[in-house]
Symmetry: C2
Subunit: 336 residues, 2 copies
DNA sequence: TTGAAAGCGCTAACAT
DNA sequence: ATGTTAGCGCTTTCAA
C-alpha cells in the first residue's frame, strides 16, 4: 500500500507538499498540484485516516447509537443526521445496541478512544461512563446529543417534540370524535417518553372532565407483540371502550390485530390512534391515524447541534423542541 | 486526556509494561498489573485506538453497508454479523448508502483508509473502486463479502440462499393450491435476485405445464408503493388471476392494499405470497405466506467468512448457499 | 511556495 | 518480567 512518502518520491516533492496538495490545495502551486495528483493516481494512494486522525486529534466521524436498526422510527432521523453530517465532511457510523448495556458502552467508547468525535443517542439508555460523568460534572465531558428521547435529571442536550402536548392532541382528537371510554396503551413505565405521553392523555381527559379509569390503562413495551397483548387484556377488562390511544405505531399495529381477532372492526367499533407516523402507518388496514414527529428535521437539528457542540464546546443545558402534527387516516371515527 | 505515558509515570513503570498489562496481561506480574490498573482507573485512561490501529495496521472494525436501514430485511442479518463480530473483538460499523454511489463509496473507502478491516455489502451495488479492482484482479484486493446479494460476473465471496429454488417453491405452493393464473410482481430487472426469483417462477410454471403469460408479469422495485402500483396494473390487465407471487414482502404488502381497494379479498379471491419473511409478515391482514431466509444465520456465516478472509487472505471464488423455508400463513388459499 | 523535522500515542523488536 | 526505542503515516510549525 502506497503511503505519503511514496507519493512524495514519485512526484519529486516533499511529504509536506503532498499533504498540502491534498488538504490545502490553495497553498500549493497549480503545477506542483498536478504532479502530485498524477503520482496519487498512479499509485492509487489513499491517505491513512488513522495517521491523520492521530495527528489532528480528530476522526471526522460521529457515532449514532440506535437500539434496533429495524425499528422504522429511526430511519428518518438517521437520514436527517446523515444529510447534515455528509455536508460537513463527517461520516456517520451506526451502532446497534439492542438495548444491551455492553454493546452500548462499546460503541460509546469509540469517542473516548478517538475513533469518533461525538455521540448521538437515539434510545433511552445511557452509556455507563456517562452516568458517572454526569454525577460529577454539570455537562457531559464529551460531545453528545440525544434525539427524541431525553433523560430526567441529566443535562444532556436533546432535540425532540413536546410529547405531553402531542399526546394531549391525540387524545383530544378522540374526544372530539365523541369518545368517552378511551383506553391507553403506554410504553414501559420507566421511559420518560412513556410518562409524557401518559401525562398528555390524562391532561386531555381532565380538561374534558372525563374521569380517569385505571382499568383503561395497559402497559406495553413499544413492540408490536406487546401492543397485541395489552389490547387483549383491555378487551377483557374494559369491553365498553370505544377508542384506544397507543404510545407508538407498533403497539397500535398489535392492538389492531387483537381487535380484529375479536371480530370487532377497527374505527367502526374501536378507534385506534398511534404515535410516530412510521412508514407502515399508511399501510395498516385501515390506515392508521397517528401523531407525526418531524423525523428528518429532528435528525438534521440534532446533527447541527452536535457540530456546534463539538466545535464550540459544550453549551448550557440545551433542549430544542420541534413541532408535531396529527395525521388523520381511517383508524379513528366518530363514536356511534 | 491521559495517555499511556501518564499511566506509566503514575504507576512507576515503562509504557511498554502498561501496554502489555492491557493487551497481554499474562506477560506481566500480577503485582505490576495491579499498580497499572490503579493508575488507569485513577486517570480514567482509555487507549487511543487511532494510535494503536496505526501501529498495528488494524482497526478491529468492519463496515457493513446497508442500502436503507429501515428495510426490515436487513435487521436479522446485521444481528447475525454482530453476534460473531463481537465475539471476536470486532466492532460493526453500519453505513447507510441509500443506494447512492457517493455514500457507498465513502463508506467503502474506510477500508482503504484503514478505518476498517473489511467490508460487508448488503446491497446490489458495488463501490466504484471495487469495480475497477475486479476488472484487473481475479479476487478483490480488500476483504469483502456480500450477504444475500451477489454480482453476476464478479467473483466476490457471498453468502445467500438459492433464490431460483426458493422462488420455484413459492410458485409450486400456489400451483399445489390449484392456481393456474398466477401473476408475478418482480423486483428491478437489473437485479440478480430479481432475475433469479423470476426464473424460479418460470421454471415452476413450465414444470406444471402452465403457459407463461407476460400480461401476468409486472415489475416493481421492492418498495411497498411499487407493489401497490404493480398490482393495480395487474388487476386491470389480468383480472382473471387468482394468485400473485411478489418478489419481496414489502411489495406483497402494497399488493394487498391494492387488492382490498378493489373490494376483493386476499386469499379468498386472490392469494398473495411474499418473499423474505420480514417481521411484519406476521402482522399483515391476513398474515402473509412467504419464503423465509435464515437471516441471522446468513449474517453469522457472512461474518465468519469475513474473519477467515481477513485473517487468511482471499479465497477462491466462494459462495455459501443456506437453506430457505416456506412459511404458510393465511394469505394463500385453495382456488375455489 | 516549498522543505525539514518534530511528534501525535501506541506496539513490538530487542535488550537486559 | 520489564525497559528502551524505533517507527506506524500523517500534519504542522518553523525556516528558507
Amino acid at each position: 500500500m502506497a503511503n505519503i512518502k511514496d507519493i512524495a518520491k514519485l512526484a519529486g516533492v516533499s511529504v509536506a507538499t503532498v499533504s498540502r496538495a491534498l488538504k490545502k490545495p490553495d497553498m500549493v502551486k497549480k503545477a506542483t498540484r498536478d504532479v502530485v495528483s498524477a503520482a496519487i493516481a498512479e499509485l492509487s494512494y489513499k491517505p491513512n485516516a488513522l495517521a491523520s486522525g492521530l495527528r489532528r486529534q480528530k476522526s471526522d466521524s460521529i457515532v449514532v447509537i440506535v437500539p434496533f436498526i429495524q425499528n422504522p422510527f429511526y430511519s428518518g432521523i438517521v437520514q436527517g443526521i446523515e444529510n447534515i453530517a455528509h455536508a460537513h465532511g463527517y461520516k456517520v457510523l451506526l451502532g446497534e445496541s439492542q438495548n444491551n448495556q455492553k454493546r452500548l458502552d462499546s460503541y460509546a467508547e469509540m469517542v473516548m478512544t478517538k475513533q469518533a468525535d461525538g455521540l448521538i443517542l437515539l434510545g433511552a439508555m445511557l452509556p455507563t461512563y456517562m452516568k458517572n460523568d454526569l454525577e460529577e460534572n454539570q455537562t457531559p465531558s464529551i460531545p453528545v446529543v440525544m434525539a427524541c428521547e431525553y433523560f430526567d435529571g441529566f443535562d444532556i442536550p436533546n432535540v425532540r417534540i413536546d410529547n405531553v402536548e402531542a399526546a394531549t392532541a391525540a387524545t383530544n382528537h378522540l374526544i372530539a370524535l365523541g369518545h368517552r371510554r378511551i383506553a391507553k396503551i403506554t410504553g414501559p413505565v420507566s421511559n420518560p417518553l412513556s410518562k409524557d405521553r401518559l401525562k398528555g392523555y390524562k391532561a386531555a381527559l381532565k380538561k374534558a372532565k372525563i374521569k380517569l379509569d385505571s382499568s383503561l390503562i395497559a402497559t406495553g413495551e413499544f413492540s408490536v407483540h406487546s401492543g397485541y397483548k395489552a389490547m387483549t387484556t383491555l378487551l377483557n377488562e374494559a369491553p365498553d371502550m370505544t377508542a384506544v390511544f397507543c404510545s407508538n405505531d407498533e403497539m397500535a399495529l398489535g392492538a389492531m390485530k387483537a381487535i380484529k381477532e375479536r371480530r370487532l372492526r377497527v374505527a367502526k367499533d374501536i378507534s385506534v390512534i398511534g404515535f410516530d407516523n412510521v412508514w407502515f402507518a399508511e399501510y395498516t388496514d385501515p390506515p392508521l391515524t397517528t401523531i407525526c414527529q418531524p423525523h428528518v428535521e429532528i435528525g438534521e437539528t440534532t446533527m447541527k447541534l452536535m457540530l456546534d457542540i463539538s466545535n464550540n464546546g459544550p453549551k448550557l443545558p440545551q433542549k430544542i423542541i420541534l413541532p408535531h402534527q396529527l395525521i388523520r387516516r381511517s383508524s379513528t371515527a366518530s363514536v356511534t
